[in-house]
């Protein structure tokens, strides 16, 4: 790649080129016309909105209850506990609140049967206070609330390491243990798989008004491979744990509403081609839109938490019944034999517990907006102006502001009580009929960028062929991870929700933004956008400082 650092225009240019490549050489960025057309009189937005029976949103005038990010499912709490609140209608009922609390207890505490490989011992350990995880503060601290996915060039699991690098293993004494080069092979101890860390290069750029900025460009490195070398075409994808609040409401957005915003061939020629993908949901075997995971790989919260229990914590459960060892990880398999597997079917987690954790995740509320005066029904002018900027820049092209939920489906595990699973299946009505403002379309978008092939080097950067000295290095430009996953390509990412954005660091003061936590601020997160969001990003760079500040104030108010 071209050397960066000559200002943002260079980066834009490069990303523009990548975008061209990504789209198979279709129309260039320059020919894309802005999508928003504003009628000066009415100030109505001319963007097409799914017809859910609601009045179309206006660019200048927020909806009457827009300050309630999740309608009647919104919480008033704005403190460090803002992401961990139950939906009010759940909190008001003893039985449902008890389920929520039971699930919360499980979410926060470690379980028997953790490992043999794991990233962290509790749900909360990754999703800190139901919010985002952290990038370790230094390279000598292991990743605890982030990890690297791994595969070959086609996205198939690595034959030895599977699809996720677990930093911790467990010894015969039940102590957690970090990776050690070839340790699992030579000593038959279930060491953690590999030690990943990140180093940042500073890149600089400039807004059109001359103000400069700096971004942290990550370089991912992996050392101490306990079970042997990675596959020849290895691909890695770092992820910081995303927040979990509000996900039950996202799950309750009708499929047709999401599909409506899908435009894979960019027929409306706005440069944005969101892609809805589908896969078969476990247990129901129904084909459903995949709306969860950074690359839209899972269909439901149940599927997501089951996978996390197994992959992140080594806790087998009703949906994911195999320990996280591949057949080539002999030490891991041997350690797995020592587990007590106390639950039904020899699993680590009971079905009741899984259902309670599912219930907990689904019924987490969303904090209300800041910047709104409840008494006088007025918004801070800065927030309003920023809101208009948001539309004018076409951020809403992917971050679709508003949806209306349908009643939450019944758990596929059956209705759960405090102490048992029943045969009945009752929908969670408390999730339905809410007008919500998540600011996402939950679709896949090409975000640009590209990566060099992963290579090995020594501690001083010298060439390294094999042995304990070798460090595996991944360098990418832009947001790409170059790792296909599910139906997503190495440059595609699912649009994350923006609600609660302004409280990210209130909840977890160490938290940063984007899928790998590289962005320290909201502005940095915007500046990393590329691909389909290239134009919106460039529009942001072109704004005068005052208007940029308005936009950021608006985003902080979410």
């Amino acid at each position: 790649m071209v050397k960066l650092g000559q200002g943002m225009k260079n980066i834009s240019l490069i990303l523009g080129m990548i975008f061209l490549i990504g789209c198979g050489g279709g129309e260039g960025v320059s020919s894309i016309e802005p999508v928003i057309k504003i009628d000066d009189k009415e100030k109505k937005v001319d963007f097409i909105q799914f017809d859910d029976g609601l009045k179309a949103m206006s660019i200048s005038k927020p909806d009457e209850f827009e300050y309630l990010s999740a309608g009647q499912a919104t919480t008033d709490v704005q403190t460090a506990e803002a992401y961990g609140q139950a939906i009010p209608a759940i909190k008001g009922k003893f039985e449902k609140n008890a389920l929520f609390k039971g699930g919360d207890h499980l979410f926060r505490n470690p379980h028997n049967g953790t490992g043999p490989l794991f990233n962290t011992a509790t749900c909360q350990g990754c999703h800190v206070k139901d919010g985002r995880g952290n990038v370790p503060v230094s390279i000598d601290k292991p990743m605890v609330s982030m990890f690297l996915r791994i595969s070959d060039a086609e996205g198939n699991p690595d034959v030895i390491y599977g699809n996720q690098l677990q930093t911790f293993g467990i010894t015969g004494n039940g102590e957690s243990i970090l990776p050690k080069h070839d340790g699992a092979i030579n000593e038959n101890i279930s060491y953690g798989e590999a030690y990943a860390f990140v180093e940042y290069e500073t890149i600089t750029g400039q807004y059109n008004d001359g103000e400069s900025y700096q971004l942290r460009k990550p370089i991912y490195k992996v050392k101490d491979l306990s079970y042997g070398d990675f596959n020849e075409t290895v691909r890695l994808s770092p992820r910081v744990s995303p927040p979990v609040f509000g996900t039950g409401l996202l799950e309750s957005i009708p499929e047709e509403a999401l599909a409506f915003y899908s435009d894979p061939d960019d027929k409306n020629k706005d440069g944005i081609s969101g892609r809805a993908v589908y896969s078969v949901e476990p247990i129901s075997n129904k084909n459903k839109i995949t709306r969860f995971g950074y690359k839209a790989t899972t269909t439901s919260i149940l599927q997501q938490i089951s996978g996390a229990y197994r992959g992140d914590m080594g806790i087998t459960n009703f949906v994911e019944q195999q320990e996280p060892c591949t057949q080539l990880q002999v030490a891991c398999l041997a350690q797995a034999q020592l587990e007590q597997n106390i639950q039904e079917f020899g699993l680590d987690l009971s079905k009741v517990s899984l259902a309670q954790v599912e219930f907990y995740n689904r019924t987490l509320s969303v904090p209300k907006r800041r910047g709104y005066d409840n008494q006088n029904n007025t918004w801070q002018p800065e927030v309003l102006a920023g809101r208009t900027q948001f539309f004018e820049l076409n951020c809403n092209g992917c971050h679709v502001p508003r949806f209306k939920t349908q009643p939450g489906h019944a758990s596929l595990l059956g209705d759960v009580t405090v102490s048992e699973i029943l045969d009945s299946q009752t929908p969670i009505s408390e999730l339905g009929e809410h007008v919500i403002y998540p600011y996402t379309d939950l679709l896949l978008h090409d975000m640009g960028g590209q990566c060099a092939d992963i290579y090995r080097e020594g501690a001083q950067g010298q060439a390294c062929e094999s042995g304990s000295e070798c460090i595996w290095v991944q360098k990418c430009e832009g947001l790409a991870d170059n790792r296909p996953e599910g139906q997503a390509t190495g440059t595609e990412w699912k649009t994350p929700a923006l609600w609660g954005l302004g409280l990210v660091q209130t909840v977890n003061s160490s938290a940063t933004l984007l899928h790998d936590g590289r962005a320290r601020t909201i502005a940095e997160a915007i500046l990393w956008h590329g691909g389909e969001a290239e134009q919106a990003k460039n529009n942001f760079i072109a704004l005068p400082k005052e208007k940029r500040k308005q936009l950021l104030t608006f985003l902080e108010s979410l």
Binding site: G92, H111, N112, V144, A511
Partner: protein, 471 residues
């Protein structure tokens, strides 16, 4: 109260005699109107008002927190005696004082989950007491599971002993043994600190992993751990099959004469660790007394700021809502779901409430007892003195819902009967951690959970009837 009850009794008779043509149902179908007579009220006052019930509830709050405070002070004194002279006899007395202190506190927990002082008491910017949800002292007083591995020596119990973050302990061992200068002083801060961004990184990860408040280091259970130690088997090992013993910590863990201090069963070359362990113990007790003192003050009849607000005439409906919310939340969400079901489901010792001392049977019994106390307007003090006042039971009868009053009374009695089985089984030698692993005992635990669920449904019914349902 005795006076008012008998006074009330005579008024009832008069009132009902007048209203029901001489058949107050007292004699059932033997009354003058036979089967057509009015439902009986068993002589309960018609004068009991919501305000009376609320006053009783507030007075009993003061009584139960006062008792908790008195017992915590006694515990603190006994711990001071023990740390100064760590004999086996003083060690036993210290442990007895801890068990005693749990008796009133367990009954106080029905005052949780209602935005009262225990959950919400804090100081505002001007330095005066106020209530802010989730800002209260409860987390410092009674939070569990404890992060015991962060406090003192432990062995692995299948990875479920906290801290959850495996990197925390790489900082140089637990806080008591640590020679890290950040933990040099054993003080309130060490026990309660939530790390700020400005703190050194080591402090951040030890005290509040990523702003997470999981690493509990203070309160009753910290003291419990420092007195009993991990609840391993008699052979000093962690085994899947637990035995009947509680923790086996030795008094020598507090010896401060040169060459006598023990840790992990090994004599230490320096007494530093034992000295620090003693300091940690006393600092924990000091903090506990301080917090309980503040909660008690807020409930002082006639002057405590919360007592005044709670009993204010304008707040009747919200006060009744709080009383019943506390009962319902403790019944199902806390006692049944968190304190019983979690350890029952996973056969998990770490999830039992008083896991070091094997006193969980009392936690269960006393929590349930507190709920029953509230409904009946009764509380037997630490001293043995029985308090009785206007009750929710009375109020329901007065408002014409005698049947519902009896339904809830029966549901609470059923729970007490079931919880008594757990309590007695433990007193006869099979502690709660044995009960969750043995098939012969598990049904009694399930029955207690079911009874708690059933009583919660009736509490909800009562809330609807009194029109104080949660919004």
């Amino acid at each position: 109260m005795k006076f008012s009850k008998s006074f009330a009794l005579s008024v009832v008779c008069a009132a009902i005699l007048a209203g029901c043509g001489g058949d107050d149902g007292k004699n059932g179908i033997d009354g003058t109107n036979g089967a057509d007579g009015a439902d009986g009220t068993n002589g309960v006052s018609v004068l009991v008002t919501s305000a009376d019930v609320i006053t009783t509830n507030a007075q009993h709050a003061y009584a139960v927190y006062s008792d908790s405070l008195i017992a915590a002070k006694a515990l603190k004194e006994q711990l001071e005696v023990f740390v100064a002279a760590p004999t086996d006899e003083n060690f036993t007395k210290a442990k007895e004082a801890w068990l005693d202190a749990r008796e009133p506190y367990g009954q106080s927990e029905v005052y949780r989950f209602r935005e009262g002082p225990i959950d919400a008491l804090t100081k505002n910017e001007e330095g005066s007491w106020t209530l802010v949800p989730d800002e209260g002292p409860e987390g410092r007083i009674n939070a569990w599971p404890l992060a015991e591995a962060l406090i003192d020596y432990t062995i692995s119990m299948g990875g479920t002993e906290l801290p959850e973050d495996a990197t925390n302990l790489s900082l140089g061992g637990n806080l008591i043994a640590s020679e890290n200068e950040n933990y040099a002083a054993i003080n309130r801060e060490l026990l309660t600190k939530v790390a700020q961004e400005s703190d050194p990184e080591t402090v951040q990860s030890a005290f509040a992993f990523g702003s997470d408040d999981r690493n509990v280091r203070s309160g009753y259970h910290a003291i419990e751990f420092l007195l009993w130690g991990q609840d391993l088997n008699g052979n000093g090992k962690y085994e899947a099959q637990r035995d009947y013993t509680a923790g086996h910590r030795k008094a020598s863990d507090y010896f401060t004469d040169v060459g006598t201090c023990t840790s992990e069963g090994i004599v230490q070359t320096e007494e530093r660790t034992c000295t620090r362990r003693g300091q940690y113990l006393l600092e924990s007790a000091k903090l506990l007394v301080e917090d309980l003192n503040n909660v008690t003050d807020a409930w002082t009849p006639g002057q405590g700021f919360h007592y005044m607000a709670f009993t204010h005439a304008d707040n009747t409906q919200s006060a009744l809502n709080k009383i019943l919310t506390g009962m319902g939340e403790l019944s199902l969400g806390e006692l049944s779901a968190e304190r019983i079901q979690k350890s029952y489901d996973a056969n998990s010792q770490e999830d039992e409430h008083s896991c070091f001392s094997d006193n969980t049977h009392r936690d269960i019994y006393l929590n349930a007892k507190g709920i029953q106390n509230t409904f009946l307007g009764e509380y037997t003090r630490f001293s043995g003195e029985a308090l009785a006042g206007a009750s929710l039971y009375d109020l329901l009868v007065v408002k014409g819902h005698a049947e519902l009053a009896n339904k809830l009374r029966a549901a609470l009695e059923d729970t007490m009967a079931k919880a008594s089985v757990i309590d007695t089984t433990a007193k006869l030698g099979s502690s709660f951690d044995i009960q969750i692993q043995e098939n012969e005992f598990r049904p009694a635990i399930k029955a207690t959970m079911d009874a708690l669920a059933a009583q919660t449904n009736v509490i909800e019914e009562v809330m609807a009837t009194l029109e104080v349902t949660n919004p």
